[in-house]
Structures are given as C-alpha cells and as structure tokens.
Symmetry: C2
Subunit: 344 residues, 2 copies
C-alpha cells in the first residue's frame, strides 16, 4: 500500500459532466450565496473571480454514475441524483469544518475562516437545500414522479443517517470508552450511508428494479466503511503535501479507528500515556509523533489496514452476489480499489 495511486479513469471521465451539473444548480442561486458556495466548490476565489481550484474527488457522484452504467442505465438521466449526493457531501464538509474548527481544505482557507461561522452555517444550509433542488431536476429528465419521490426519500434517509453519524463522531471526541463496534456504527452512518445511497440511486434510476439495487447499496456501504478507515489512516500517517491535510485528526482528538483500537487494546503504562495524551485540549508537536509511535507499537495501524481490507472485500463480494457480468463489475471494482488504497 505504499505506492501513489492516482484517480482511475472511471472517476475522471465523469468529472467534467458532474461539475457542469453542479455549476448549473449553484449558478442559479442568488449571487450572495453563489459566491460562498462557488468558493467552497473551488471554481471561484474569495473575491468571486473564476479560478481553477480543487473540487474534491467526486467520489459520491462517480459511484452513482458507475452504478447506473453497471445496470445499463442512461447516465444523463441520473445526473441530477449524482449532483445531489455531491451537494449533500459538500454541505456536510462546510459544517464539518466549523464543527472541527478546521482552517484549511484543499489547501485553501475553509468557508468559516473567510466568511465567519454564522455565514458558513448558512452556506451549508443553502448547499443542503440545493441538493434537493438538484435532485428534483429528475422531473425535467422525464423520470416518473413516483421514482422522483422515492429517490427523494432515499436521499433524505441517508442524510438523516449522516446527521446521526456526525452526532456520534462529535460525541466520541470526549469519550475514552469508544469501542471498535461503536466506531463502525458511526462510520456506517457518517460516511457509508451516503456512499450507499449514491450507488443505489444510480442503479434505481438506471431502471433497475431487482435485488441489484440492494446489492449496490450494500456495496456502497461496505466500501464507505473501508473508505472511512482509509481516511483515518491517512489522517494519522498521511503526508501533508499529498493529503492536503496535516495530522489534524490527531490534534483534534478524533476517535479514528487506530486510536479507538489503541485505547481499547493498550494496557498499563501505554494505556495511561495514550489517555493522558488524549485528555489534552489539543495534541501538538512531539505528542503527535508519540501518538503515532504508540499506535504503531500497539499494532493499531496494521489492524486498521486489515479491517479496511475486509470491508473492501465485502464490497466486491456484493458485486458478484448481484450477478453483474465481469465486464460490468470492472469499473466498480476499479473505483473501490482506488478508494481504499489511495494515499490522499
């Protein structure tokens, strides 16, 4: 896992189309909101001028469109759903950055750093609302109203899970007794629910009515957990340059999987020291290095990598279980491989 994996073609091929759809939704906003949201999305600088910033990996929209293609659907019909899941993700990022007091995202100041917390809360709210506006464009694509209504319900339930996961993630920050099981419950909600619905919406709207929709939902969920575990590993051991993030997850005392495992499986002096480090308001400097070393000695990194691998395999097993042809599985396998083995 030491190599540098770049975005696979299955991801990059949809990027521009998704970006156009997202811009169409956000550009329809009143100018005030458009500037903040356009900045967050990376296509405007803070004074509203066009720029070419990073918009993220478009993981959720890609999963949606790949699932649609895997069941033989028409991706242009499904584009509103792809935009919607991406907007939900971005709403949660804007609020996340406030909640975690994160100063940077994609090497730029976060929205709250530039516009202040009150306007950043509001920008996130607008982004969440826009997700529904984006999804409702399904009607313009000729998708039957019943499917639009059911899609809205699917998205809403996933969004509620996301909120519950976020509640747990925040709550865990102040606890030392979080178990691996607690962690997996949180990751399933905070991250995997949205990846699950991204994949299932793609299949559902791609005109698949069989159990395949459910297989793809589970594929997305298992993959989502593997993805979150990978994120945790990068958050602790990742290099700032490649990840666009520092060891911020340590300093913010996030209960990332390796930390949860470490606290749960250490004894005596090691446990005491780890708890002492995590009892601080913030973890800085040499203490970060010490946390990394303690976790490595406890086997927490290996444990997390192995568990991530297990969820990755479970995701792939769903593709086989769904009965997809090998050729139709290929792009979804490639996407999964990238998501759980990436270094950024």
């Amino acid at each position: 896992m030491g190599m540098n994996y770049s975005l696979p073609e299955s991801f990059t091929s949809y990027r521009d189309t998704v970006r156009i759809e997202l811009r169409r939704v956000i550009d329809d906003c009143p100018p005030s909101l458009r500037d903040v949201l356009g900045y967050h999305m990376g296509w405007q600088d803070e004074s509203g001028r066009a720029c070419d910033g990073e918009s993220g990996k478009f993981v959720r929209s890609s999963l949606c469109l790949l699932s649609c293609e895997a069941v033989g659907g028409d991706i242009s019909q499904v584009m509103p759903a792809a935009a919607a899941v991406e907007l939900i993700h971005n709403f949660s990022l804007i609020h996340d950055d406030i909640q975690d007091a994160s100063c940077e995202r994609h090497h730029r100041p976060t929205v709250w750093r530039l516009w202040g917390q009150p306007q950043a809360i509001n920008a996130g709210d607008a982004m969440l609302t826009l997700a529904y506006l984006a999804l409702l464009k399904l009607r313009e694509k000729g998708v039957p109203d019943e499917k639009t209504a059911i899609s809205t319900q699917m998205l809403t339930l996933a969004c509620l899970e996301l909120c519950e996961g976020q509640y747990l993630d925040l709550e865990y920050e102040n606890r030392f007794d979080v178990t691996v099981e607690d962690y997996l419950d949180m990751a399933a909600k905070k991250t995997a629910a949205l990846l699950g619905v991204s994949a299932s919406l793609g299949a559902y709207l791609g005109n698949e009515c069989s159990g395949l929709v459910d297989c793809l939902r589970i594929y997305g969920k298992e993959l989502g957990i593997a993805y979150q575990i990978r994120d945790d590993i990068i958050g602790i051991w990742g290099v700032k340059e490649s990840a666009g993030k520092s060891a911020g997850d340590i300093s913010r005392r996030k209960k990332a999987l390796p930390v949860v495992y470490g606290l749960q499986n250490s004894r005596g002096a090691e446990k005491e020291r780890l708890e002492e480090l995590y009892a601080q308001e913030s973890i800085e400097g040499g203490d970060i290095t010490e946390v990394r070393r303690l976790l490595e000695e406890l086997g927490a990194r290996d444990y997390a990598e192995n568990l991530g691998e297990q969820y990755y395999c479970r995701a792939l097993a769903q593709l086989a279980a769904g009965g997809l042809d090998a050729s139709r599985q290929a792009p979804l396998r490639e996407a999964a491989c990238f998501l759980v083995k990436r270094n950024f």
Copy 2:
C-alpha cells in the same frame, strides 16, 4: 395596539394535531438526535424527561391548515406539509440562535448553550432533513406523486429564499447604509417566503388548482412581512416577561426596520449618535434606552407600525381578490390580525 392579544381559536384548534404529527416524525429519529430536537421543541427537558415546555405559536403550520380549510380541503391530508413547514422554521431557529449567539428561547437555554455549537449545528441539519421526511408522508396519505414532487419543489425554493434572507440579515449587521428597500427584500426572503409557501401548500394540497393558490401565497408573503415588522417592534419595545425576549435585537445590532428607518432618516448630531451607538460591538444598559428614545423621536416606531399595517391590509386584499366567501376568509383574517397585532 397596546392591548394583550391572545392566540385566536383558529391557531389553538390545530395545535395538538400538529404537535402529534411533529412528534411522530421526531420520535422516529435515533435517540441521540431525538433528545436534542425534543428539547428544542419543548416536550423534553435537557436530560430527556418529558415536560410541557412552550413549542412556539405554530404560525406556519396553522397558516397551512387554515388555507387548506379555506379552499375546502381535508386537513388530515395536508398535515405532512403543515409539519414540514414547522420543521423548516425550527431548523432555522436552532441555527439562528447560534448565529446570533442567543442564550435563551422560550425562557429556556438555547440548544447550543446546552449541547455546544457543533452539536447544535448538527441538530439544525437533522431538523431540516426531517422536514423532507415529514413532507414525504404525503405519499402515505394518498396524495399523487406529482403533487408530492411539486410540493417538495415549492418547499425547497422557499427554504433557499430563507437562506438568502438569512445571508442578508447577517450581512446587514455590519452595514450602516441599509435602506428600507434592502430591509424589505431581506424580510421577504427570511420570513415571508416560508409563510407564503405555508399558505400556498395548504391550498395546493387542499386540491385547489386555480389562481387561489397564488393569492394565498401572496397573502402569506404580505402577512409575513407585516409579521416580521411586528417582530422587530416587539424586539425593540417589547416587555421581557411577555415576549420571552429582552431588547436583544438592539444589543445584537440587528438591522430591524425601526433602526434602518432611523439610520436612514436622521441628520446631524442624532445620526452621528445613532451610528456611534451602532458602531459598538454590543449595545448595553443605558445605551439601549437611548436607542429606543432616539428612534421614537425620529418617528421610527410610528413608521414601522404604519408600514406593518399596510402589508397587513395588502394580505387581506389578497383574500378578497381570490374570491373566497366571507365565511371562508374569516379564519385567515383572524389569524392575520393576531399575527400583526400581538404583543409577544
């Protein structure tokens, strides 16, 4: 306008039914979110025990149901929409309280005071999501999917206007050159859009397809502006005991209508003094009394009361324009009268 107006029967008669619908939606939440949201709604105390706190006036749900009845619709069918608009309102209150750093609502600590800002942001997000879940229960009532989809669109557009209005409201705090026109634009979005969609959803789902839906939307919008103006007057001159709020709108330097008018229409020493008072980080003690006095001398209170009266009359005119029988207009007229003449 010196008398004490109590809630009219048209409001109290629906209260319990709406509360049951709201509880049904919120009680379906995971326990973590349910406790925070149930606290905000007033039916739980901070430790999760049932209590009988204040839930607000249920203005938006009442308008929705009154409009439905006015067009001869079945209120039980429209209940999901009534719950949805109330949830949208409450999501905005939870976030508003963070944005304004308000410590109290309905004589109790605000959500962020008890759970902290990060969890309060998350609770508001969950409440917004629940509004969609509530609305989608239209499907269980046998409402056709097309109507459900269109209702979702109507609600979403109003919610986006609300976000834009909130943006403006926050942005005005740091400006001295806000005009009455700017103010009305903000109030139309921040407050009136949701009252407008509340009334129009009630009529639309009450099976009215004519221009009456539009008249009721405008009725709600005009009334919403009058309602916001009344809120501003109460926020400056209201008594703490009856309003459940102090002169917080002054101390937080809100650009309430009387203040906007005062800044725009003062000259010389008066203008200088008012600007000096509003240049402070926060306005406290004797300065609050002075702001009140200055505004009264400038005729700002009379101006606001007159302008509110004008919007109130325009709201009533829409009822007549819509061609509703006098008997069908009566509850909507009564509701409007209460909303713009109340003291709390």
